[in-house]
């Protein structure tokens, strides 16, 4: 497929879009902000005959609170997330993750739907979505289904999204008063870098450093984002003193199964899973104490 022969269709409504998606004659792919799509097109990896440009679909750009849940439209950009007072208050961890995506230009163009759609194990918003118990709404012309985020990805770059489906909503559980979260990222540099390891940590706190429970989701250390269930299980056992934090963090390397690539070796990634967990928990406790 030559790039000059590709088509771009710009549907005006979600329904239009679903209609186009339902047609099987052409090989098509959605393009939102294009920050992944254009790169992969240039690399010759994504060469559909038709691009479906959804960037202008205003219906899919919203953040609202409904019945104790927060609904985020897939066309919400990372910058939208950073500026949302609702998310700052009730899903701060997602705000922190969005701040770590690329740099300002990427945050202005890139969308949360695109971050999910690309399904990179290093995608920065995804661990945050894991600990916010996100569910992703997939729509086709005649159907709508809700998939929990941990069942959405089948492997690197692969999801259960069918060719006739698109993401139309992302539903998260807001953080409660006693829940605190933090996102930690290690990249080869501070901006414009792909995560070597990242982690989202959400804790439910009682008084002092007593923890009622928590969720820990790691990125870039397995074929998909993974939860560190053993570490999670240890969180409520003892107050999270610096010593205990170090001990819990040491377990993390056992829960990950990373690979070696150009950015880091598997061994280093393992060590970094522990390091980021330790750093994250430590910083969270400082924050909690200042609260």
């Amino acid at each position: 497929m030559l790039i000059s022969e590709m088509d771009i269709i710009t549907p005006q409504t979600v329904n239009d879009c679903l209609l186009i998606l339902s047609k099987k004659e052409t090989e098509h792919r959605i393009i939102a902000g294009g920050t992944d799509a254009v790169v992969r097109m240039k690399e010759g990896k994504w060469l559909p005959s038709t691009w479906i440009n959804i960037k202008g679909l205003k219906e899919l750009r919203y953040i609202k609170e409904i019945n104790g849940t927060i609904h985020i439209g897939p066309l919400i950009t990372h910058t939208d997330i950073i500026h949302s007072s609702l998310l700052q208050k009730k899903a701060n961890i997602l705000v922190e993750a969005a701040r770590e995506v690329g740099a300002i230009q990427m945050q202005n163009m890139g969308t949360i739907g695109g971050n999910i759609g690309t399904a990179s194990p290093a995608g920065d918003t995804i661990p945050a979505l894991y600990v916010l118990n996100a569910a992703v709404e997939l729509q086709s012309l005649h159907n709508k289904r809700l998939i929990p985020i941990n069942l959405l990805f089948t492997g690197p770059g692969r999801t259960v999204i069918k060719p006739n489906e698109m993401i139309t909503n992302i539903i998260i559980q807001p953080q409660t008063e006693n829940e605190i979260g933090i996102f930690q990222k290690l990249g080869p540099r501070k901006a414009q870098s792909i995560s070597i390891v990242n982690v989202a940590i959400m804790l439910s706190m009682a008084k002092d450093r007593e923890c009622l429970g928590g969720k820990i989701a790691f990125g870039s250390v397995a074929p998909t984002i993974i939860r560190a269930k053993k570490c999670e299980a240890l969180l409520p056992l003892n107050p999270l003193t610096d010593d205990i934090i170090e001990n819990i963090a040491k377990i993390a390397w056992k829960e990950v199964m990373p690979i070696t690539d150009g950015r880091a070796t598997a061994e280093y990634r393992r060590d970094m899973a522990s390091a980021l967990l330790e750093r994250g928990l430590y910083r969270l406790m400082r924050r909690w104490e200042r609260k």
């Binding site: 030559l2 290690l186 080869p188 540099r189 901006a191 610096d242 010593d243 390091a275 750093r279 910083r283």
Partner: protein
């Protein structure tokens, strides 16, 4: 008493500033012409292979293809290279790296050109790639070039190292590895070629020496150089990476086959990574001996540089490295040896610092190690060992020109960061972070060494509008040398700087004045302007005397005009007089760089007559959990001679510091088995503004008598001592030494682990803090 200066030494705004910051300026690769065609280069599929045949038929038949060229279509000599032309323009029988060009295509669109490349069938026979420089040197390795794999060998012996090592109180020995840094200029290699009806070929292509590019094009085309015009300025960054031919010859070849239509080539970043020149990765083994009081006694160096498939300037790089391998110190006994070796790893060549970066890390680290073991202050040990003007250097020659090292060390020692370092080190933001402060000093030769003719030339022309056109061959590479030329001209002509126009890098408008490399363009170009300007004054005053009919001695050169008694003449009036009387309105200035008379035996061009010196002080913060390192503060103390433009100097000092940070902490083009693992800026990590620290610049102005107004050169040394300074600061912070750059978080983390494993008792320390 010093005469006061109007322009020199002042913060004069960049004359090309507004057009650059507004984006109004067009770089050559920004141009689009009507009727243009696209050129593309077919690169080798393998790092080392024999070519049995090249079939271009299918590509030629693709609609929209204008021509497909191979080695058979080269009218002249099929080779290029600044020193020896060992790189084929288009490979005929063998490819030696994946950057090798095999064929050229011109087509109506970029896409068609790319398609055509895919239709060219090359029958290769794979050969086993040689990817390790040390292995390439062994006698059993296959020869990549007829004379073998050692392209050059330099050896300097001075004094008696064996005896010195025997009497030494302390000996330090280490091996250092340095990365293959990429210039990472924003404008990748590219440009335009066009041939007109009269056979004049015009090449617009950013380069660092238009006249030499022209000769290389002429040689390959077997074409009269007078009929080739090369426009090489302005440049969207080069740093040495456009010193060699990039695409000029391809453009010229294609232009001969496109029926007068302009042809454009502009490499993608990916192609630039593969085909562009890089900094030589070095392996440096060093052994240094000192007395108890810190006096350096001896230094042994063995450096091996991987020049990749072709020489380019590799021989000169290793020679300069060895010349600088002992630092700006007087070490009486040295035994220094360098090899420049061919492999199948891309191509290495010129890059800001030119080999000094790689060796500086050795000697400076060793000074710090010696100082630590002897419990000496890092400044004191350096002060004790540096040479002063008139002293004998480690190379064994008397340094006659200005030497500012001692002064830079004095400033370093008294700067806030160094004086209050113990306080700053305590101010870590989190308990697992550790801070360190260190300093290092280095130097860099200015201009070419012995054996290479080195000259500057400039012309000044009075224009009809009463302005002066200052023309200098040295290109505007981004550093602002044009502003420097304007300042020098305005100073001597005694006019406002707005009266000066500058043109650079155009064989039809500027004289041959050498390269914009080797930290030479302010010094050399500036001196040439300073040589031309008095001639212009002479031209103006004699014309004024004729016009006013007064004796020459009555003419006074005033600001922006010439006067005699009551009468005053504008430049415009003078121009009109000259024009009417058919008198020349243009003058030339020429300058031959002073050289040393005696070449140091075996050195390949040492010593230089002139060096710029610099000391860096840095503070880093290491995250011991992850190995991430932040450079927080940098103090840059250059000895640039007289500073022509403080703003320009700061630009160099800051840009150089950031480039040095990139080299030390992030950057490396990784090649495995001859294939690039690093593809583009996704995986080639350069510092961003978030990795950019506070940088202070405190120049030492040790005036150099031969330079324009006492100026020297500074363009390269600004990125050098910061490299070992960061390495030592990491050690100061954590106790971990890094010998292999870049010091990525993973390398630092592993070094920290090693330190911990050697000291099993420190476990649990962290919580006590």
């Amino acid at each position: 008493m010093k005469p006061s200066l109007n322009w020199v030494g002042k913060r004069v705004k960049r004359i090309d500033g507004p057009e650059k910051v507004t984006g109004e300026l067009k770089y050559m690769t920004d141009y689009h012409f009507e009727n243009m065609v696209w050129g593309k280069v077919l690169r080798a599929k393998y790092p080392y292979a024999r070519i049995h045949s090249i079939q271009t038929e299918k590509a030629r038949q693709l609609p929209g293809v204008i021509c497909v060229l191979t080695h058979e279509d080269i009218p002249g000599f099929n080779g290029f290279g600044i020193v020896i032309p060992d790189q084929p323009v288009l490979a005929s029988d063998i490819v030696r790296c994946t950057g090798d060009a095999v064929a050229l295509v011109a087509a109506e669109t970029q896409e068609i050109a790319e398609q055509a490349l895919r239709l060219i069938e090359v029958d290769y026979e794979l050969l086993e790639a040689i990817t390790d420089a040390e292995l390439a040197m062994s006698s059993s390795a296959p020869k990549l070039h007829p004379d073998g794999n050692i392209h050059s060998h330099v050896k300097i012996i001075n004094g008696d190292t064996d005896a010195a090592f025997k009497e030494a109180d302390i000996i330090i020995e280490n091996t250092f590895y340095s990365p293959r840094q990429m210039h990472a200029f924003i404008e990748t290699e590219g440009g335009w070629g066009v041939m007109d009806d009269e056979g004049l070929i015009t090449i617009r292509c950013p380069g660092q020496y238009a006249y030499r590019d022209r000769m290389q094009i002429a040689r390959a085309l077997a074409y009269n150089p007078e009929l080739i015009r090369v426009i090489s300025s302005p440049i969207g960054g080069a740093f040495g990476g456009k010193d060699e031919i990039t695409v000029q010859i391809y453009l010229a070849l294609l232009a001969m086959y496109t029926n007068g239509r302009p042809v454009k080539i502009h490499l993608s970043r990916e192609e630039s990574v593969i085909a562009g020149i890089k900094r030589h990765p070095f392996k440096v083994q060093m052994r240094t001996a000192a007395k108890k009081d810190g006096t350096l006694l001896a230094n042994e160096v063995r450096a091996v540089a991987d020049t990749g498939a072709y020489a380019s300037l590799g021989g000169a790089v290793i020679a300069l490295a060895i010349e600088h391998s002992c630092g700006p110190y007087k070490i009486p006994n040295v035994n220094l040896e360098g090899f420049c070796v061919y492999t199948n790893n891309g191509i290495s060549g010129a890059f800001r610092g030119f080999g000094v970066n790689q060796v500086c890390i050795g000697i400076e680290t060793h000074l710090d190690m010696i100082a630590e073991q002897l419990e000496l202050d890092p400044v004191e040990i350096r002060k004790k060992n540096v040479y002063h003007q008139g002293d004998i250097s480690s190379m064994g020659h008397v340094v006659k020109t200005s030497v500012g090292t001692f002064k830079t060390l004095e400033i370093a020692e008294n700067c806030d960061l160094w004086k209050n370092r113990s306080q700053f080190k305590k101010e870590v933001s989190e308990p697992w972070k550790k801070r360190g402060v260190a300093l290092a000093t280095s130097f860099h030769g200015i201009g070419m060494g012995i054996g290479l003719p080195d000259y500057g030339a400039a012309s000044i022309e009075l224009l009809p509008n009463g302005k002066f056109l200052v023309a200098v061959g040295c290109e505007e590479i981004g550093g602002g040398n044009g502003t420097t030329y304007a300042q020098i001209a305005a100073e001597i002509l005694n006019c406002d700087i707005s009266k000066i126009k500058v043109v650079q890098g155009d064989t039809s408008k500027t004289l041959d004045g050498g390269t914009v490399t080797a930290s030479r363009s302010t010094y050399t170009g500036g001196r040439a302007v300073a040589a031309a300007a008095p001639k212009m004054i002479k031209l103006l005053t004699s014309a004024a005397a004729e016009i006013l009919q007064v004796p020459l001695s009555d003419i006074i050169v005033q600001r922006d005009c010439l006067t005699a008694k009551e009468e005053s003449l504008t430049y415009k009036a003078i121009y009109e007089y000259l024009y009417i009387h058919h008198k020349p309105a243009k003058v030339e200035g020429h300058f031959l760089l002073p050289k040393e008379k005696v070449e140091i035996k075996g050195s390949g061009g040492a010593p230089h007559h002139l060096y710029g010196y610099l000391t860096h002080v840095v503070m880093v913060e290491v995250d011991t959990l992850t190995g991430e390192t932040d450079v927080l503060r940098v103090v840059s103390i250059p000895d640039a001679g007289k500073v022509i433009n403080p703003q320009g100097l700061e630009g160099q000092a800051e840009g150089g510091a950031v480039m040095g940070i990139g080299y030390t902490l992030y950057e490396d083009v990784i090649i495995e088995e001859g294939f690039h693992k690093t593809k583009n800026f996704t995986d080639y990590i350069i510092p961003t503004i978030r990795e950019t620290p506070v940088i202070e610049t405190f120049p030492v102005e040790d005036a150099e008598q031969t330079g324009p107004f006492g100026a020297k050169g500074i363009g390269e040394v600004v990125m050098i001592p910061i490299i070992p300074a960061i390495m030592s600061a990491i050690y100061d912070a954590t106790g971990a030494r890094i010998y292999h750059l870049p010091a990525t978080p993973e390398r630092i983390f592993n070094a920290l682990k090693d330190v911990k494993n050697k000291m099993p008792n420190i476990q649990g320390d962290k919580n006590d803090e």
